[in-house]
Symmetry: C2
Subunit: 343 residues, 2 copies
Amino acid sequence: MERKQPQFGKVRLTEVAQLAGVSPITASRFFRNPNALSVSKRERVESAARELGYVPNLAARALASQRSEVIGVLIPSLTNNVFADMLRGVYDASEGGRYSVQLANTRYSNLQEERLLRIFHGQKPAGLIVTGINQTPESRQVMRSMNCPIVQVMEIGPDPIDMIVGFSHSDAAFAAVSHLIERGYKRIGFLGARMDPRGQRRFDGYRDAMKAASLFNQRFVITTLSPSTVPLGGVLLSDLVTRAPDIDAVFCINDDIALGALFECQRRQIAVPEQLAIVGFNDLEFMASAVPSLTSVRTNRYEMGRKAIEMLTAAMDGNPPQDRVADLGFEIVVRESSARRRT
Amino acid sequence: MERKQPQFGKVRLTEVAQLAGVSPITASRFFRNPNALSVSKRERVESAARELGYVPNLAARALASQRSEVIGVLIPSLTNNVFADMLRGVYDASEGGRYSVQLANTRYSNLQEERLLRIFHGQKPAGLIVTGINQTPESRQVMRSMNCPIVQVMEIGPDPIDMIVGFSHSDAAFAAVSHLIERGYKRIGFLGARMDPRGQRRFDGYRDAMKAASLFNQRFVITTLSPSTVPLGGVLLSDLVTRAPDIDAVFCINDDIALGALFECQRRQIAVPEQLAIVGFNDLEFMASAVPSLTSVRTNRYEMGRKAIEMLTAAMDGNPPQDRVADLGFEIVVRESSARRRT
DNA sequence: CAACGGGCTGATAGCGCTGTCAATAATTGT
DNA sequence: ACAATTATTGACAGCGCTATCAGCCCGTTG
């Protein structure tokens, strides 16, 4: 009935405590709240731990304390730079802290998201970051029952589950399209791919701005559910100029599409911005380098990740932020591709 | 001395077993090896679990079984598309399996890598994926003591720790530069950023190819330790043409640099490929769209991720692959930017 | 008909750590 | 000087699950 012997050389808290001449529970405290120990014991435990190369067993800790020190992060895609940037903020901000990040990929599927949430639920994470505001009622149910702080990221909206960090995609798109309208462009196309919830809201912003100026025309709208890529931007632009040769500007749902559109213009010898203005969304680094440089909407993706972790850790440490909603805003970065129309 | 009551509604294996009318251990077996149960009990446990919405407590499982079902993945950067692609393969291949992926970011630091490995060590992962072959001796020590299958990814080299999936960066660079030489280019520059170990080896391939053709000249080499970005590609190209105006081609350490270089050429009215050929590395999607389309080296990053997980799970299930080295190769994708030189 | 083997199930005893409370030592106030 | 605090420390009992071995039932074998 004996279990196999503990592996030779395996170091448990007990060993550390023994070497330090204290009880295991005291050693345990050293790792969680060193200030609770007297200086002498603290030093003894510290050197014992170092000498033995002790590494805590997280599974045991999680089981005994009934909570893990894991922050779960749900994003829809790994390919998309936008989420990678946000993630970078998440990892940077959690660096060195006691919480570790556990990433999961929903692939833009609500069902997948629900499934992953249930798994996280079983892990009793210390906190949770989820993308967007379109969780199913079931997902929201699971999240509420998780009993940990939660931050929704990438966009803001009504009725946050707990906390939320982002900006209004429809406002941003509205502003970008208004910029084109102000510059004198009238027949402004919309190139959309993927059309996830945030893409939809960018379309809403486009449509509202166009309608407000009585310029909206369904003929100018090209969308697809395919994932957005640079080559796809070229395809969409081709479709648009074929269908509406009189187009004088395009608002692209993101920068990849915008870059593809620019390349297609170069290929077709369409002068940008003289014949066609191009505006993208997200302001990826290449937008400033392109020739002509491309106007875009700067969004603070890295900051969203950082801020989400900050709010989360604050809440986990017992002082939830005053503002449960953080609007990180956006900025229209005007470049050559939307220079004033010469009319 | 009583602990707080189990949360209302919390479902443990015991509850499932009770409802199913079996012992806890039988219920436990259902989740790990359903075939060991009789059909009747299997069905009873299954329906009980579903009815109660049971989710296993992974911490308890890991503690009791002395191993977690976690695959640790160490990558140097989240920003770099190359790793994101590999990761996508990892996540796709582990989807639906019993292992979950735990990601950690070394930020190109060997010390950071060592620290993260120690943390993983404490978690007793079922498997490990690490980037590259340049681990410190200490890191290798820790890995060996982890007693789990390990795959190194992104490049191949001598003396793998356990298994390895990748390709030879120096061979790939050698082939790319040889391609330029064959096409008649002679004064071929090298634009390098970040210069991580794989970047170094690409430089080695460039240097060897140039030397083999007696064309090597230190004047043609521009490198920086800064992270590579599209704008940086423009800066490096500017430096190069300033220092060596007679240059007739550039081999770029990656596609971002290549794209930046192309834009800089457009800005400076340098005709590509007539005056200057450009070759990149990785074949990101935009390379085919650019005008002119850009020659690059296709690497199978997604496949590397998939393959790594396949090898790992095979090894974890007790049948390690015959070949512990998987060379996924590369392919020179010739496009307009390296068209034959008209001489 | 006893002995045997295989398939299935259950009892027991932890895995390594921490929550809880009690006990003890050190410090302070009056 | 003595009680009242406060700071440290320790004993105990699990957290929820699984490794291990024992036992049962049944059909087979010699």
